[in-house]
Symmetry: C2
Subunit: 211 residues, 2 copies
């Protein structure tokens, strides 16, 4: 159905510092256990969906590689270079971007076991600044959120996240309530191909009559 090598190139990226690597030896300052599986299966679903969209020539959306600061590289004779010392870096943008029918799409994926809200600790400054900058350039910017315990996945416009982020001190709210996401976001019904048909939401609610 699609090129096997493309799959390998795309889904082998590590899912960030809270992914599978952190399951055994978790550093002392690691995030609370609530987010242990954060971003794993949702990211796999999104990657599969993006491959589907790519193979069907519907859209070109890719996950960006995990940013890594490379310090030491060893070059063995007659074999591939080995990176022997490197560190995870904080991303300066969101994880996914690309193009859909002439529109620039930019989004971040977040998964939480929390049932009542999405904590704002899931975001950091650079991501919010990046989302604002993309909105100013007329990009379509959003978040895909999965409440894994509830088995619900939503597309939430970035404007809502930015609003909660900017007013977290004033409003004394450190998370976006599930009820707000239900009201201001769009629930995505999972499918088989693609598993997360988020472009349907873009068509129906964001672009509307646009062709």
């Amino acid at each position: 159905m699609w090129d096997r090598s493309v799959i390998n190139l795309t889904i082998n990226y590590p899912q960030g510092s809270n992914s599978s690597f952190s399951s055994s030896k978790r550093p002392a300052n690691a995030k609370p256990k609530t987010f242990a599986n954060r971003g794993m299966s949702l990211e796999e679903d999104i990657n599969q969906s993006n491959l589907y969209y790519l193979s069907k020539k519907i859209a070109v959306i890719h996950k960006k590689p995990t940013p890594v600061q490379i310090v030491k590289v060893h070059y063995p004779k007659r074999s591939a270079a080995v990176i022997t010392e490197a560190y995870f870096k904080e991303a300066s943008t969101t994880d996914y971007n690309g193009i859909y029918r002439g529109h620039y799409l930019d989004f971040e994926a977040k998964e939480t076991k929390n049932k009542t809200s999405l904590p704002l600790t899931n975001f950091h400054d650079h991501q919010i600044l990046h989302m604002k900058a993309c909105l100013e350039q007329q990009g379509i910017v959003f978040i895909l959120i999965r409440f894994s315990s509830l088995q619900e996945t939503y597309l939430l416009p970035a404007s809502i996240v930015i609003d909660y982020w900017d007013n977290q001190i004033k409003n004394k709210k450190k998370s976006i309530p599930h009820s707000v996401i239900q009201e201001s976001g769009y629930e995505i019904q999972p499918g088989l191909f693609p598993r997360i048909p988020y472009l349907e939401i873009i068509d129906k609610y964001i672009l509307k009559g646009d062709s």
Copy 2:
């Protein structure tokens, strides 16, 4: 003039497997020396230009992190995780993308010491497929090429690269002649801020009267 932390996050990415890492212990199967500095100063110039465009709210264009396959990670107590085994991977897309006034931009940067042509060995299959896919979605797709010996930098529409790539066997041409790049591309006069004002070319020749 712009946020220092943004600069650090953005320009510290390694420039790929032909970058500074490869200067001392070059593997037996390394690329010819003609490309030893390929992508170094041009990439720095582009990164500075992108930071300028970002700080002035003109466009949001980022270089993607170098794709790395992470194999082993060590988690020392009370300090950052250390990646102790990882490998460079071939990118499945081009190096740069982003948004400019509602338009999706996607490009690759190539630098050569060659004076007469840009060898097609500078590209690989996935990059060409990616450029084609982005063009089909109505993206603005191009190459920034620097002939370092000639001190000339050009913006070349992706369609020309694709044409040479697809016909390299039929035409028995393994490179794009400098004369073709001169005719079909647009020379970029270097500036101070930004150093490579490539968006001027986009305005003038690609978008034209579009607002």
